[in-house]
């Protein structure tokens, strides 16, 4: 009716109860006095008048309460009472409260953190308007297709052939000119490790080359200055400009607005800063990390020159063979993807035929369109599988936490059955009791939710941190996702409410008299027993899954850690150099490396120096077509082997044994006959039963070189720990006529990185002041970093496994304890009739064993079924590894029986007389 007066009076009643009480008291006292005076006036004695007045008005306290209630304070008052009661209950059984809140917090916290990471790596979209309109052009071709030379992401198709998102620049230009299916096509390419010189200090940056319509098509406007325009992307050299990222602006220029117009040296080419990207914009390639600088394609031949293979020019813009540019566009509204792809397919075929010579009627690539809203999404590729497995495990933990909570609440409800009956008998309404229980459950759930939030917030960056390597920045910074927290919180709270309320509902339906007498309530007892047992079996099965998972992943880590490397990683310090191509085109970097090689070897404390073009166990490897002497080139292509350009002392520095022949020496020069050392696998595969030394092979496809084998070395792992050594040859780097674009120096030394770093920097700068020293780390750290996913898995699953064991322990203990206490009478009778305590103990343990075995059996079945999912993440053992399964089952059975031991002992210690009197 009158909302305002209702609210104001309600508020006064709730917020200022004392003031209201005083007011009522004063009113009532005035009433009493007036009444008494009137009575006295009519001749009643003073004493009698007051007595009468008081009797008629009733007690002041009751009046106060009723008046307050009239102002609507009852609900709040009762809530307050309930809350106080709930807190008292929690304080009375702090163990229960801690476990319930703790398991909720873990379930919520773990899942929030995992989902946040997953969301970020797998689902984040580019920070541009309408990302859902973006399409990334891609193509697929069968084996032996027209595209031979590729720089960028590709995926091997199962039947041979490949899919890729890279195009040659001339093909892109033609596509863009003739495009009608999309708004406009723009191109980009990310470059790792470019050199920027700022204030005389060189440092490595990441860059994105973009087309002139990139900013306008993405609809991104720099927060400062302007974006790259068509006029910047004209003929080669026409746009010496860069747009920098918000991060780079903050890091290098402290967000100074005067940065616009400043000239920086990008790969020693002067370029003008014309804009700063908006915060959050990460370019078109990835939604996780932004390149530091963006510059137009027109600058590629000058600022980022690259000579590929036989090409005489260092411009990629005219190279018709190399496919390297990513092409994206916004699809026109109403145009289906298939129509767009079909129209591009025609264009692509024409463009390929127009720009390159298609040999031997090789099939030309067929166009596809891919969702471009997440860019190329490089993070998703490698992480999708491990993250989904982690999410699955997180889900199991949440389930386990909920089951545990349910179990605890059920146990407690049955323990409080008598209390319910007393309250009902004393006249409490059923709704009132339910409200009380609901308050308790909600209080627990909210505490759990709040702790979960704290936990999730506290460790929200844990996943990105453990996902990045020791020497680099975090893989990404996770944003806290409230929706996910809400999801996990709602699930746990609903669990708490259901399992908190269902027993209360049950309890209030019970006949007061019968439950007060504690006559065996067979019906509710069986239900509790059944529900409780089911939950415990589910808990044990979930625990079994998690323990098996922990076993599998921990063993994978151990196996990897102890796998035979084939080289000695100890006391090796690595750093990298990437001399800019502008200054060291092609083989011009070889003299630089040779000079550094010598100077580093002279540094005191460094025992030997070995250069490699690809660091070992870095996930990267180089491959070449390999044709041993006596074999012919085949039109469909020959097999390829791995290779690495290495320094003279590579084998001794890395401790790779020479099995036959010799290593490299001063006699092998840039101009002498090209030589190589092959590993045993290669010798075995390509020269079975022969002595490979002195034989030659042809390497490379377009411009093959003939190389003589001078030695055979032991097998050593190359790109991945998980891969057994493959056929590999090692060639002296100074014989590589294309030069080495990026080199890793391995230093054998007992000094640590910190001590040596200044000296190393000095040495490098004494050769070239503008050369940054990159990624200093030890070979052991490099290997550890490559085991990062395995370590994450082992760590998380081990934690989950321990948690699962604890929860299973609590679960089975609580149900066994409950059963023993319910059966005290029965046990007493049995013992009175002559059962020995061992028999009673056996009886209890048998029951526990039965539940444990059921749970373990269900868990084993589940683990076998789910094993296939994780098989590809394992190393050195099968997903059904019998030892792991047996050990996990044994562990779980021991823990469960151990937990049941205490209730079993208690049962065995029952005194028949007291048990019977207990009735």
């Amino acid at each position: 009716m009158n909302l305002f007066s209702r609210i104001t009076t309600w508020w006064r009643a709730v917020a200022k109860p004392d003031e209201l009480d005083r007011q009522v008291r004063e009113e009532l006292e005035f009433h009493l006095e007036s009444h008494a005076e009137d009575l006295m006036r009519s001749g009643v004695s003073r004493e009698e008048a007051w007595r009468k007045a008081r009797a008629q008005l009733g007690s002041v306290a009751a009046g106060q309460e009723n008046c307050r209630a009239a102002w609507g304070s009852q609900f709040v008052d009762e809530l307050w009472t309930d809350l106080r009661y709930s807190l008292r209950m929690m304080a009375r059984s702090p163990g229960f409260a801690a476990i319930a809140v703790g398991s909720l917090a873990l379930g919520i916290g773990v899942n929030t953190v995992l989902f946040t990471a997953a969301q970020h790596t797998l689902l984040d979209r580019l920070a541009v308007p309408h990302p859902q309109q973006l399409r990334l052009l891609a193509w697929t071709e069968p084996k032996g297709g027209a595209v031979e030379s590729l720089w960028g992401w590709f995926d091997d198709l199962p039947g041979g052939g490949e899919t890729s998102t890279s195009f040659s620049y001339p093909v892109y230009q033609q596509l863009r000119k003739q495009n009608s299916a999309m708004e406009s096509l723009f191109a980009f390419k990310t470059l790792d490790r470019q050199t920027v010189t700022l204030n005389g200090r060189a440092e490595a940056v990441t860059a994105e080359m973009v087309s002139g319509n990139y900013y306008s098509s993405l609809e991104v406007w720099p927060q400062l200055g302007r974006g790259i325009q068509e006029s910047d992307d004209g003929p080669p050299g026409s746009g010496p400009v860069v747009v920098i990222s918000d991060r780079f602006w903050t890091r290098e220029f402290a967000r100074s607005p005067h940065v616009i117009g400043k000239i920086i040296l990008f790969n020693l080419t002067p370029m003008t800063i014309i804009g700063v990207n908006p915060r959050g914009f990460t370019g078109a390639f990835s939604a996780q990390e932004t390149p530091d600088v963006f510059f137009p394609f027109s600058m590629q031949p000058i600022a980022a020159p690259l000579k590929i293979g036989e090409s005489t020019s260092s411009s990629l813009l005219t190279n018709t063979n190399l496919w390297w540019v990513l092409v994206m566009g916004r699809i026109k509204p109403g145009v289906p993807d298939r129509t767009a792809a079909a129209s591009f397919n025609v264009l692509l075929d024409a463009a390929v035929r127009a720009t390159m010579v298609v040999k031997n009627h090789r099939p030309t690539p067929r166009m596809l369109t891919m969702d471009g809203s997440r860019g190329q999404n490089p993070a998703a590729e490698g992480l999708a599988k491990p993250i989904s497995v982690l999410l699955g495990l997180g889900g199991l933990v949440l389930l386990l936490a909920c089951a545990n909570l349910a179990n605890l609440l059920l146990a407690r409800a049955s323990a409080r059955q008598r209390e319910m009956s007393v309250r009902l008998a004393l006249g409490a309404g059923r709704w009132r009791i339910l409200r009380q229980m609901m308050t308790e459950s909600l209080l627990l759930s909210l505490l759990g939710g709040a702790s979960g939030l704290g936990l999730a917030y506290g460790v929200r960056n844990a996943i990105p941190r453990i996902m990045s390597n020791a020497w680099g920045p975090p893989a990404f910074s996770a944003r806290f996702d409230w929706r996910i927290f809400g999801f996990a919180a709602v699930i746990s709270i609903v669990t708490g409410l259901i399992f908190g309320l269902a027993p209360a509902w049950q309890a209030t339906r019970v006949q007061v008299s019968s439950s007060l007498k504690e006559a065996e309530q067979t019906a509710s007892r069986r239900q509790r027993g059944l529900a409780g047992k089911t939950i415990v079996i589910v808990e044990l099965a979930l625990s079994m899954l998690l323990v098996v998972g922990a076993g599998l992943f921990v063993q994978t880590l151990l196996q990897l850690g102890h796998s035979r490397l084939g080289f000695h990683p100890d006391h090796l310090l690595l750093f990298e150099l990437q001399p800019p191509q502008t200054h060291y085109p092609g083989p011009a970097n070889i003299p630089l490396y040779r000079q550094l090689d010598q100077r580093l070897a002279a540094v005191p404390g460094i025992r030997s120096v070995a250069l490699t073009s690809v660091p070992l166990v870095s996930g990267n490897a180089m491959g070449h077509t390999f044709i041993p002497e006596g074999q012919q080139r085949k039109p469909e292509g020959n097999p390829s082997v791995l290779f690495n350009d290495v320094g003279e002392r590579f084998f001794s520095t890395y401790g790779i044994p020479m099995v036959a022949g010799r290593g490299f020496n001063a006699a092998d020069t840039e101009t002498s006959r090209k030589v190589a050392v092959v590993n045993e696998s290669l010798a075995r595969k390509y020269f079975p039963g022969l002595n490979p030394i002195g034989r030659t092979f042809e390497a490379g496809w377009n411009h093959p070189i003939r190389i003589e084998i001078v030695g055979v070395c032991g097998d050593a792992k190359y790109d991945h720990l998980r891969k057994d050594p493959e056929p590999t040859y090692y060639a002296p780097y100074w014989q590589n006529s294309n030069g080495i674009e990026q080199a890793t120096f391995a230093l054998a030394t007992s000094l640590d990185a910190k001590t040596l770093a200044p000296t190393l920097r000095q040495v490098v700068q004494s050769v070239d002041r503008n050369l940054p020293l990159l990624d200093m780390r030890t070979q052991d750290e490099q290997i550890a970093a490559s085991m990062q996913p395995e370590r994450i898995f082992a760590g998380l699953t081990a934690a989950f496994g321990v948690l699962a064991l604890i929860l299973a322990c609590i679960g089975i203990y609580s149900i066994m304890a409950w059963m023993v206490s319910r059966r005290t009478n029965e046990i007493g009778i049995r013992m009175a009739l002559g059962a020995r305590s061992q028999q009673v103990q056996g009886m209890v343990l048998r029951e526990a064993a039965w539940m444990t075995l059921s749970g373990v059996a269900v868990g084993v079945a589940g683990a076998l079924a789910l094993g296939r999912v994780v098989a590809s993440l394992l190393y050195g053992l099968k997903s059904w590894d019998p030892m792991t399964f047996a050990a996990s089952a044994l562990l779980l059975i021991l823990v469960a029986l151990g937990a049941s031991w205490i209730p079993a002992r208690r049962a065995a210690g029952v005194d028949p007389i007291r048990a019977l009197r207990h009735e």
Partner: protein
């Protein structure tokens, strides 16, 4: 909250009587009691204990407003007056009560000849 259905007759009636008493001029709680007794010529027995909760209930609904004032014997007392909403309420209640009383009266006064 007065019940329109009239199931809880006494409570509904007390609220109505209080509204009526206050409509004749601002009164303190004791005054309300006296006035009802006076108008009813002491034929109605009012439970004094339920008078004040009724007053607070009516104030909660916004039908009467209470404020402190000076009593006839120079004492501080809380005076209640009818609000605009209260006046409308009283009219509605009065009309309803009259209809109710008519119907019940007609039924109870029925004699066999009328059927």
């Amino acid at each position: 909250m007065a019940k329109d259905t009239g199931v809880d007759l006494l409570q509904g009636t007390l609220d109505m009587l209080v509204l009526k008493a206050v409509s004749l001029g601002p009164l303190h709680g004791y005054g309300v009691l006296l006035r009802i007794q006076q108008i009813s010529q002491n034929r109605l027995e009012i439970q004094q204990g339920s008078l004040y909760p009724a007053l607070y209930r009516l104030e909660h609904e916004g039908w009467i407003a209470g404020e402190w004032g000076q009593s006839e014997n120079n004492r501080r007392a809380r005076y209640y007056r009818l609000t605009a909403a209260g006046r409308r309420r009283l009219e509605v209640e009065t009309k309803k009560w009259n209809q109710f009383a008519d119907v019940i009266g007609a039924i109870l006064n029925t004699v066999p000849e009328q059927l």
